[in-house]
């Protein structure tokens, strides 16, 4: 579904990603973990080209999207993204947030988009909030709207950039539950997260990044029980 080939990302003299080669398969749920500053978010943002890799290639459904001739907007329609700080559109109601892109980008009729939007809001448990503005919502509710907004484009893959890191502890579960439900639908997901229990329970595969390098990857059980690298062992000792 998505693969990267040797991608490196530099910000000035600072090399944030170092030669990462990875593949995410159809229907796979991959958790990307690692210490802060390890390049997890940058890696994720390279997958939908919110960051342009300094070198290397990114492939999405057999297309090389790092090719300069590719229309990024066309690609991004099919890649949903959820941000740490939600980034809902504050001047639109919850339903408008969800239906905006389908109407503008996919040229859906408003009634049709509303129907899809309401369905998705029901799925994330926010039917009663459709007419509210985002700043009336709690953090957990905002993030669920953000998930519904991304899903409204009917993407082939969903990217999550630390979706629960900005939430109060009591709101983490409601968001993780929505994400869990999503895995049941067979959605391909890449999740940058600090929620180790979630990664362990839900992910098919763990990618461990440290200092911009992909240090280790594997199934959750083996990764959490018997990490191969010293760095991963160290990290797990600290967070578990």
């Amino acid at each position: 579904m998505i693969s990267t080939q040797d991608i490196t990302k530099k910000f000035g003299d600072n090399t944030v990603l170092k030669n990462i080669t990875a593949t995410i398969g159809q229907g796979e749920v991959v958790a990307v973990i690692g210490p802060s500053g390890s390049g997890k978010s940058t890696f994720l943002r390279c997958l939908n080209l919110l960051e342009q890799p300094s070198s290397g290639k990114v492939w999405f459904q057999d297309q090389e999207i790092t090719n300069s001739k590719i229309n990024k907007m066309e690609i991004r329609k099919n890649i949903g993204m959820v941000f740490q700080h939600f980034h809902l559109f504050p001047h639109m109601t919850v339903l408008e947030n969800v239906t905006y892109a389908p109407i503008k980008v996919k040229k859906l009729k408003r009634e049709q988009a509303n129907e899809v939007g309401k369905e998705l809001l029901a799925k994330v448990g926010l039917t009663d909030k459709e007419a509210s503005y985002p700043n009336r919502l709690s953090g957990g509710q905002k993030q669920r709207v953000a998930i519904a907004r991304a899903l409204a484009m009917d993407p082939d893959v969903m990217l999550f950039d630390e979706p629960t890191s900005a939430l109060d502890p009591e709101m983490v579960k409601e968001v993780l539950d929505v994400m869990k439900d999503l895995t049941q639908t067979g959605m391909t997901m890449v999740v940058v997260t600090h929620e180790m229990n979630f990664a362990r329970e839900v992910a098919d595969r763990i990618m461990f990044l440290d200092d911009g390098k992909l240090m280790e990857e594997g199934e959750p059980e083996s990764f959490f029980m018997k990490p191969k690298t010293e760095r991963a062992k160290d990290f797990l000792d600290k967070v578990l």
Partner: protein
Amino acid sequence: MNLDFSQIVPYVPFILEGIWATLKFVSVSIVFGLILGIVLALCKITKKPFIKWLADAYTSIFRGTPLILQLWIIYFAVPQLTGYDIEIFLSAVLAFGLNSAAYVSEIIRAGILAVDKGQTEAAEALGVPYKPMMINIILPQALKNILPALMNEFITLTKESALVATIGYMDIMRRAQIVGADIYRNFEPLLLAGVIYWVMIFILTRLGSAVERRMRQSD
């Protein structure tokens, strides 16, 4: 004290007619300045150095010279150069619109830059192209934040509009001047003109507050 308002009574309708003349050219100038200002602001935030330079140079020239000079150049000097006899109304709108755009572009640029970068990213991640993103997502949020500053600019423009009296445009100011010359009394017509300007600005301010309240609906 030598005030006598009875003499200007017959002239009041004549001066009041100036309200329409002023309103007409001020509103066209504001709209023209606003649209050009938005375009200039977008030029200023692009990554293309030449376009950016052009927009900056434009602002520098129109902010760096007196408005009355720009007005006179357009009305008196350009015809000499081109042979085209420009109309008073058109030159007034051009001078005020072009000048206002320079100020408005700076206000809007600041407004756009103040919108959270995450908004752009969220729109991009949804595949929203640049134009609808700007029109539907970034500019509405920017405009909401800069509305007080924009109102200030519109108020300034309305008051400065009195400068067009110097090229003979029959606005409130010019009419007050004519009446003054007619009856050899200046205080009364100028006072009346002052009251009219004040009332116009007062209404404009109220309108601005109403728009602001409406835009704060989502807070």
